[in-house]
Symmetry: C2
Subunit: 152 residues, 2 copies
Amino acid sequence: MAETPYVPTRIRALPSWLLGRAAARGHRLVADALAREGMRMMHHAVLSAVAELGPVSQADLGRSLSIDPKDMVMIVNDLVAEELVTRAPDPRDRRKNAVTISPTGTRTLRRTQKLGDAANAELTAALSPAERDQLIDLLTRIAAPGLDDRCS
Amino acid sequence: MAETPYVPTRIRALPSWLLGRAAARGHRLVADALAREGMRMMHHAVLSAVAELGPVSQADLGRSLSIDPKDMVMIVNDLVAEELVTRAPDPRDRRKNAVTISPTGTRTLRRTQKLGDAANAELTAALSPAERDQLIDLLTRIAAPGLDDRCS
DNA sequence: CAGAATTCATTGGCTGCCCCAATGTTTTTT
DNA sequence: AAAAAACATTGGGGCAGCCAATGAATTCTG
């Protein structure tokens, strides 16, 4: 008995609640997939951003990915320890660290990106390609805090 | 200089990443709103579910909202301490606790529901009503782990 | 009907993400 | 030259999610 604990709780129709549940599932899928390469989600995100942005300061990385400076230090620490990136003082601005991806990092990234993409495909498996695009569009507009940064 | 740290990082186009960011903003908005009544998000969700489901066991609440039994214990502890719900042994099954909303809980819920709805309106302010409905639909299908519970 | 399996509430612990404050160094602004 | 800001770092805290183990109560099964 009581086979379906499905009840249309009022909460479950709220965007904030659905976002939380969907994000939790997404995180679970991606984290599990990346774990097969010994990689964690935020680490993979930072590694990917470093690959795109070239030598980049931790502050810029943090702004680009909305990661706290403190957490960024830890993540880059780990990535350096695994020799996926290098951290060297920026000669043009000695406050900054120039974070650069290493050849090993590039190879690792290629693998983890595949895993991440596969996990995202599984996450959105119930959606048609058009629906997936629209979801991305809607989420982008909702997640955006930085569209009206200085509207005054 | 460096006015826009906006860079189309590959990561930022992934559903899993966008979900995380959007969920974080939703949580921030809702949590801040509910905090004005001294309420926290999960507590409000449980209170709302209790109001809908009547006297209900903690296990059913947990299944309905995907909350871990451990966390449910803590939440109901808090709600009982604030006299928003009562927790009494179920006479028909003495393993279960019958959780019931109190008159105070009903009044509080009325206020916190308004705050939660307002926060969700702000969260989805950039969307038209139709887009908001579609977002809810897409998220429901993505978040759903319980659609194929016993497909075998 | 007696033993096995399950369910329930509870306790304990562990990880990840997010946020804030303070410090010393370096750069930029005034 | 002094003040203000940015950067990397250290430290601390809160909240959400997840898993393991336990004892009591119920249901299933032989």
